[in-house]
């Protein structure tokens, strides 16, 4: 338990430090250390981190480059710094999730344990439901589905999940109240 808790504290400190460091060399060195710690899992975690951020970073980077070029103040150092920082933070996040048992890490706090349990159960439920939505649509459409139907299905699913998360939050809050969670 202590090992997991300590690792979580180190991770939190690292996240704060990374957001304060503006030197690309230091960030690259930190990434190298993280890769060494990840060992054989490094390539897999790097791939996962890359795909998790690629769309977001591409949009932000392209937008920044276009605006900077118009204003004639493009800084490649800033582009590198931003992308490196986001990649490092994401890689570290995946590394921590891969290496430590979060439930053990927060077991020192009743409140954090509850919150983590609630969040984890929501994630599992929503992921399962999302798979069902995707499969139900696939089951009802011959290849390839029409764009209009894809958009309509996406909008309907998004609305369902928003509504469900709102209802479930209210229900979970009531359940926690009922069990004395807010009485401390």
């Amino acid at each position: 338990m202590m090992k997991d808790t300590s690792a979580l504290v180190v991770y939190a400190a690292a996240v704060i430090a990374i957001t304060l460091v503006h030197h690309t060399g230091l960030l690259a060195a930190a990434l190298a250390v993280a890769v060494v710690i990840a060992g054989q899992r490094a390539a897999r975690l790097a791939r996962k981190a890359f795909f998790a951020i690629v769309v977001f970073n591409l949009v932000v980077t392209v937008s920044y480059v276009v605006v900077s070029l118009v204003r004639d103040e493009l800084s490649l150092h800033f582009v590198l710094l931003m992308n490196l920082r986001v990649f490092l933070l994401t890689f570290l996040g995946f590394l921590v999730a891969d290496r430590i048992n979060l439930f053990k890490a927060v077991s020192f706090s009743k409140t954090l344990s509850y919150l983590l349990t609630v969040a984890a159960s929501q994630i599992v439920t929503f992921r399962r439901l999302f798979d069902d939505f995707r499969m139900a649509f696939k089951s009802r459409t011959p290849n390839p589905a029409r764009s209009k139907d894809l958009y309509r299905h996406g909008a309907s699913a998004a609305s369902f999940f928003l509504h469900k998360s709102f209802l479930e939050s209210a229900e979970i809050t009531d359940a926690m109240k009922s069990r004395g969670f807010f009485d401390d």
Binding site: A136, R140, P142, N143, R152, S156, F160
Partner: protein
């Protein structure tokens, strides 16, 4: 109609969901897929609907092996999707059209069937949702949503009807209608349930999955209901203390509550 050969499926973490299943279902057969919660019934139905690719084994629908490659070919995927349909356990996952009419008409429009209006009204009438045709399906009760989904799959008049706990959200009258419909239709049906009483009404043959994800019984419902050892092994009956007059004792039961 369908043939399953040595189907095995594991989760990404290596946990087994289905273990070496083999069976065949002939045209027009009414089969109940029975097993305790978590035994793999839903996964099997999704494999039979071509939604999950099994880790191992082969699945044939009308002598065509169903693989990701088959389902990428429009000429094969189209008829398969029209003729092998799955009613999901959670109706919310199937509903996304603006009105009940559009929800039921979605399939016929996809497959460019004729007389769509007539078909939609016929099946809406069959399941008892004619008055809801202009309403947004998301606003309906869970039972009504289930009827919409049922109409949405039946309107295609498929050859193979896969049903995942189809009566879970239905009221007793609609459950009665569904049981009678399944008995009368020419469609081949495979209905998953953990309710032995309903299983006996929805099929004349039963496939039983154990909690070890293996097929432990394939035979008539009548013989299954007499095989107490199998029922215990599959966790389909339970024991608890109760009274007969003044005598209190414990023995195995089947309760048909949902």
């Amino acid at each position: 109609m369908i043939r399953v050969e040595n189907i095995t499926h594991n989760y990404a973490n290596g946990d087994k969901v289905l273990n070496d299943l083999s069976f065949a279902i002939g045209q027009g057969e009414k089969v109940s897929l029975v097993g305790a919660n978590g035994c793999g019934k839903t996964t099997l139905l999704k494999i039979l609907n071509g939604l999950i690719v099994p880790t191992g084994g082969r699945y044939y629908f009308k002598d065509t092996q169903i693989t990701p490659k088959t389902l990428r070919q429009t000429a094969l995927a189209g008829p398969f999707r029209k003729n092998a349909v799955l009613l999901f356990q959670n109706p919310d996952s199937m509903i996304f059209n603006p009105t009940v009419f559009d929800e039921i008409a979605f399939g016929p429009r996809q497959f460019e069937l004729d007389h769509i209006d007539e078909r939609v009204r016929h099946w809406a009438n069959q399941v008892g949702i004619t008055r809801q045709l202009d309403r947004p399906p998301v606003e309906l009760s869970k039972g009504e949503k289930q009827k919409v989904c049922l109409a949405a799959v039946l309107v295609l008049e498929p050859e193979l009807l896969l049903l995942d706990e189809p009566t879970a959200s239905l009221d007793p009258r609609s459950t009665g209608w569904l049981v009678e419909f399944l008995g009368d239709t020419d469609m081949t049906t495979l209905a998953a349930t953990h309710n032995l009483g309903l299983a006996a009404e929805m099929g004349t043959r039963s496939l039983v999955l154990s909690e070890h994800h293996e097929l432990i019984f394939d035979g008539t419902m009548e013989s299954l209901l007499k095989d107490t050892d199998k029922l215990i092994e599959a966790n389909l009956v339970h024991v608890h203390r109760h009274k007969h007059g003044d005598v209190e004792h414990r023995h195995y039961h089947i309760h048909d509550w949902e």
